[in-house]
């Protein structure tokens, strides 16, 4: 059967998909890690910029990741040798602010198997939906302090070396905790790598 076509999320999704400011509870917010969640706390933050360098202030960013031990909370990841964390779902949503900024409070994901059962470098999957985007953009966030794992990652290896840095979040050991900085350029000379997934 022919797949259904995507259509833009438009500018007016917040009261449904990120409805906290409307006094309603959504399915997921931008805080993935609670007090009970196991693992290294981290903040993922950055700005979403259009082809002219202007902030995209009305976009929806969604993230999906494994827990700190490297297990996804999903039936397709049935590896009982790696523990699930009852205090972690791995899914988050954030609407960008007037500066185009998004922020997620989470834990650093563990490594999960990839092709040929080789471990992938730690990463977070990311989807960008926005007014002006008919189809979403699908990306991955890797971490700057995982150089060795990144060097042997089979997905990063598919990306031309000059563009790989667009997929790597820069670690900052800030006084309040670990922050990874990840700006997303939808277009332009610094365009972030997006995947056909």
């Amino acid at each position: 059967m022919t797949q259904s076509a995507g259509q833009t999320v438009g500018p007016y999704f917040a009261y449904c998909l990120t409805p906290g400011s409307y006094g309603r509870e959504g399915f997921a917010g931008n805080v993935l890690a609670g007090p009970e969640t196991r693992g290294e706390r981290m903040v993922l933050t950055g700005r979403l910029l259009d082809g002219e360098g202007n902030p995209m202030d009305d976009a929806l960013i969604e993230v999906w990741q494994a827990n700190a031990a490297g297990r996804y909370r999903h039936p397709a990841d049935a590896r009982e040798s790696v523990a699930l964390d009852p205090a972690f779902t791995g899914f988050g949503r954030c609407m960008t602010d007037p500066e185009g900024r998004f922020t997620f409070e989470t834990v650093k994901p563990g490594r999960v198997p990839g092709q040929g059962n080789r471990l992938q470098a730690p990463h977070i999957s990311i989807i960008i939906h926005s007014r002006g985007m008919q189809s979403h953009a699908f990306g991955r966030v890797y971490f700057s302090d995982e150089g060795e794992a990144n060097d042997e990652d089979s997905v990063l290896a598919l990306v031309e070396p000059a563009r790989r840095p667009t997929l790597i979040a820069r670690r900052e050991d800030a006084p309040g905790g670990v922050v990874y900085h990840f700006d997303i350029h939808i277009q332009g000379p610094e365009e972030t790598v997006f995947f056909d997934a």
């Binding site: 022919t2 797949q3 259509q7 999704f13 999906w64 999903h74 008919q134 979403h136």
Partner: protein, 236 residues
């Protein structure tokens, strides 16, 4: 089934390209470099799973879930359909979220400043899970058309936004449902951005006498096909 067989990539003969110049805000918001093909790993074959206790029965009735002191104005409708994969198999237990303008073409959203009245009894958002046969049903009000700044005298055709999480993160779909016979459809660059007629037709609901509820609501049927297979892949 191998991981590769389990995942169909996006069909770009069906999916709108990022750059649709007639839809003006795509010009600076469209990725231009080639997408990198991504093999399906556990990261792609998994995705959020939600507990059914997260929705209540009233969440699928937009005629009641925003009511303050009466019923919302407008034509009551009941929208039903099925969520299927490309093999035609039902996608069960998947989260569907819907949002729309009220009968006058105004969204509750704080940045919608269109000069049309809000309806104190209409919020315009709902959510539900598909059943084991992929089916869903919700009640609402027929949304109004509304103007937008894309071009001279531009009005969006009446539509309801749909968000589906699907069985895994790569099945994610956000789309819009339209109404049959709407004269604005061929003028709408968002709808016309879908590159082939059969795929556009899939986004237009059909009126159904069978699902129309006597003395109550007009019935529309809208089926959604998620890419790939909903079967659980063998991994590891």
């Amino acid at each position: 089934m191998s991981e590769e067989e389990a995942l169909q990539s996006r069909d770009w003969t069906v999916q709108p390209p990022y750059l649709c110049p007639e839809y003006k805000s795509t010009v600076v918001r469209s990725p231009r470099k080639p997408l990198v093909p991504l093999p399906a790993t556990l990261s792609e074959m998994t995705g959020p799973v939600f507990g059914h206790d997260a929705v209540r029965e009233i969440d699928s009735d937009l005629t009641r879930n925003g009511a303050v002191n009466g019923a919302p104005l407008g034509q009551r409708i009941v929208v039903s359909g099925r969520v299927l994969d490309e093999m035609g198999r039902p996608v069960a237990n998947t989260l569907v979220e819907v949002w729309q303008a009220n009968a006058a073409g105004r969204y509750v959203h704080k940045v919608d400043n269109h000069d049309a009245p809000l309806d104190p009894n209409f919020f315009g958002a709902g959510r539900f899970f598909t059943g084991v046969d992929g089916s869903f049903k919700f009640y609402s009000i027929r949304p109004g058309e509304y103007p937008w700044a894309n071009h001279d005298r531009a009005f969006r055709p009446a539509h309801i936004h749909f968000s589906l999480t699907g069985p895994s993160f790569v099945n994610r779909l956000i789309t819009q449902m339209y109404f049959p016979g709407d004269p604005l459809l061929p003028l709408d660059p968002i709808f016309m951005g879908v590159p082939n007629a059969a795929a556009r037709e899939r986004l237009v609901s059909r009126y159904s006498v069978e699902t129309t509820e006597a003395d109550f609501a007009l019935g529309y049927i809208f089926d959604i096909v998620l890419r790939g297979s909903s079967a659980t892949p063998m991994v590891g």
